[in-house]
Subunit: 350 residues, 2 copies
């Protein structure tokens, strides 16, 4: 019997050549080349935390190596975040575009789709936007710490069926086991594509919202005026960061925002154009009618304070079948074009 | 008194504008633009693991949201890894270059240096290499799971002083507190640059070497023949992956490898040119004379089996002051050029 991991590796190798072809050896004719002025990454934000009273460990970092004494007591950096930038030439966006992922995910959300098509980062870079894709605090390349009083206890891990049933791919509980989906769902639901998406999931700390907001503010302070495109959980951070740094947020694009801003600070949003986008099959979902309702009510409060918020329900535009992961759905470019046109109409793209 | 996080965020904002200028608004004249044929990312490898007998949790994912029932029992994806590719036009490397980071770190190792200079990924992409930078299993965008029987218990977290004293930046224990370094050390040791590096640290699982090797094999199976550039812990994976897939590894560049391959399979390395690079101040380190000694002895065994291994001690080439993080040191481009010349001399670059 083959080693289970070997079997898994071979299975992955067997099912992936077509994707590998698409992703690592694209046909030159497939897409026009793009010129980059520069690209790179940096970490920003965070603070130092002192831990004491913990036992010293001896750790053998690599087999055949030499054990190293690791004293867990001391000063740690925590609460920083990671950002990767790509600057096209010529630039057509008037400011950088910050792309903020949702909970339990990383900046990978904006890269290649689970079925191997270019993601929204590629779409907007090709439109001439200086894109900055980040990994939020405690996620991905931001790194994480297990300091209970700072990050809570055990983070949340998702099983294979959870996103299928919670992100409106399948029609609620039991749909993953049944292998059923909403009619005409746009998310790529073939076995390999869905597992590619699940591979992107990372543990979710549910008690680090303040740390995360502070890091996003540090990012805005560093980058300067920007367009913020935020998904799901990051709707909270997009709204609140714009309220704390109204001079740094030129426009706010919220894709299926899961939470709202501070009701006491709606006036701060008065001069920031906001676009809220919702997908399909919300009415029949156990949670999304309430989540969308909260969002729409907050939008009304912002308007009442003199702000401008456009709420787009994609089905009302004739764009049907979108899941919670709009930027990964098969019609992701169609929705990205809607965002691009909205930004251009606001004078943010030349 | 200001909120401590706010204070930290402001402090970060105050010290970073110069770097921000260098990293997010480069002078057009600074570096020539680069044309990309394509870019993107994917996950590869891993397997499904079933968990049972755990209690169900109710989780409020976002404030003002709707609590969701999270049943931790079920099937998880684990052991996958993340890879990001950038394909320049024209391509001059004969095969892709896979860049494998060391322990407690991620692919960020190869991107921008902690003091804001282009990293090795930039250097080799500009030379015309199709680069693929990965995050190993349980690190960064690969995601991680806390399944004790699969990933061991608590991973290792590093304090601020640990890399300073273990990566030959300062001269051993106490040097961080003293604020002293090896004479002429090339690592950027100003306060902000060093903390930028520490921000890149991620928790290290010390019991997932087999999972990690399997994922690297899946990566090689997917990408095909490649040059592998591996640092520190990844020396183990570079050697062992080349032994398991000798037809997929055209050359192996090991930067301060922390471990060796399988002594029983040295013959498999017979046709793969190998370059091993070591930095400065090894003789006076408590651990590195042994680690380097193991590496050199393994190289001799590979040569005895008919293989070709070049061991380069940088000080003997007149290149002094390099820490364990050679690709981040101030002379990182000089060492990258040494690697580039070595690869070109082996007919792998046109």
């Amino acid at each position: 019997m083959p080693h289970p991991l070997r079997a898994a590796a071979l299975a992955a190798a067997l099912v992936l050549p077509a994707l590998a072809e698409a992703q690592t050896s694209p046909q030159p004719a497939a897409r026009p080349p793009v010129t980059l002025q520069d690209w790179g990454s940096f970490h920003v934000g965070g603070r130092e935390v002192v831990i004491s009273g913990q036992p010293v460990r001896e750790v053998l970092f690599s087999p055949g190596g030499v054990p190293a004494r690791v004293d867990p007591n001391g000063t740690y950096m925590m609460g920083g975040m990671y950002a990767q930038y790509m600057i096209p030439s010529p630039q057509r966006g008037s400011v950088p575009m910050l792309m903020w992922h949702g909970g339990g995910l990383t900046g990978v959300t904006w890269e290649t789709t689970p079925d191997g098509r270019p993601g929204w980062q590629s779409f907007f870079l090709r439109q001439g936007w200086h894109t900055i894709v980040s990994d939020a605090v405690e996620r991905g390349r931001a790194g994480w710490t297990m300091i209970p009083d700072q990050t809570g206890g055990q983070p949340v891990f998702l099983t294979l069926d959870n996103p299928w049933e919670r992100f409106r791919i399948g029609e609620g509980p039991g749909s993953f086991q049944r292998g059923t989906t909403y009619p005409g769902v746009q998310f790529p639901t073939d076995r390999e594509s869905y597992r590619n998406f699940v591979r992107q999931n990372v543990p979710r700390f549910t008690t680090t919202d303040e740390l995360t907001l502070e890091a996003y503010l540090a990012l805005l302070d560093r980058v300067g005026p920007s367009v913020v495109v935020a998904h799901s959980q990051a709707g909270l951070f997009g709204w609140r960061a714009a309220q704390e740094r109204p001079d740094r947020v030129r426009a706010l694009v919220l894709v299926e925002p899961a939470a709202v801003g501070d009701p006491a600070k709606v006036a701060a949003l008065r001069n920031i154009p906001v676009l809220m986008i919702y997908g399909d099959n919300i009415a029949t979902d156990p949670r999304w009618p309430t989540i969308r309702g909260n969002g729409v009510r907050f939008a009304e409060a912002v308007r009442a304070a003199g702000g401008s918020v456009d709420v787009v329900d994609l089905p009302e535009r004739g764009i049907r079948g979108n899941s919670h992961m709009v930027m990964m759905d098969r019609n992701s470019d169609e929705v990205a074009q809607l965002v691009q046109d909205w930004l251009a109409a606001r004078g943010l793209w030349r």
